[in-house]
Symmetry: C2
Subunit: 160 residues, 2 copies
């Protein structure tokens, strides 16, 4: 586990908003030369902190206006292996995320569909037929806000 100084955190915070920023632009923003910013980014990549870059796709623009979160409780725990469920769940194209969780549910799924009618089709033909499925609870996404999240300690420290 590596910890970062304020400069590293400033870099991560800037990159969290826009990963296309060049080392030169990043350096300009936080008061660092281009090679210095670049070296810090590389160091974080090598340390396994920065694990990759992903694109953000607007599903609405692609015609997938409905996102639903499903909480799934397995009915036959032990009988059917978790691996079977995971394999089958990840094979459904409409399933974006499969989370194995501890608590009231065993799995959480993020599912996208064109509309509610399309979602019902996915639910009945894909989700409810997954191996071992018991209870399923659903929440339809209305709005979503993402934040950078904590990047280290002293997030709320007041300087003297």
């Amino acid at each position: 586990m590596i910890d970062l100084d304020d400069t590293d955190r400033a870099l991560l915070r800037a990159l969290a908003q826009d990963a296309t920023l060049s080392a030169g632009e990043l350096g300009r923003r936080i008061g660092l030369s281009q090679p210095a910013a670049w070296r810090r980014i590389r160091r974080m990549e090598e340390a396994g902190i920065l694990t990759g870059r992903r694109i953000e796709v607007d599903r609405q623009a692609l015609g997938f206006g409905v996102t639903v979160f499903l909480g799934v409780r397995l009915a036959t725990k032990g009988r059917v292996s978790l691996e079977d469920f995971e394999r089958a769940a990840t094979a459904i194209p409409e399933v974006q995320v499969v989370q194995h969780v501890l608590g009231l549910f065993d799995y959480r799924l993020r599912v996208v569909a064109r509309d509610l009618a399309d979602f019902e089709r996915v639910l009945r033909r894909r989700i409810m037929t997954l191996p071992g499925v018991g209870n399923v609870e659903a929440n339809v996404l209305l709005t979503e806000e993402r934040r950078p999240g904590p990047l280290g300690m002293a997030e709320t420290v007041v300087k003297p």
Copy 2:
């Protein structure tokens, strides 16, 4: 709403895995020249399909080994505005995602913490004191698998 052809989808699928791929490399993979691939990507950006690029950060490596999903039901619906809750929730550093949802809960929060003791602190001092909070249900993340998700129709079409 724009729809894409197979080539566009192939581009998105490749970019979903690694957004650092250059137009030249993408073209090489799907059998397209560098300018052609580049134009298609730009077209999707302008169409609002490709909305940006984000970095992926390994929270574990930063010392945040615990991720918890919270389902929040508001106690005083109508009395306290949803905006108040959202504003307060997004202001908590440990909160990564705030989702307004329809269903058993009113909001879903993704929260990260250093460990379970740290999470308890966040829960008691930050979450339970949010304006209007009623019931809170928690699921601790064990493993998470992300998939590209559907990029258009005909995901499972078999060519003749």
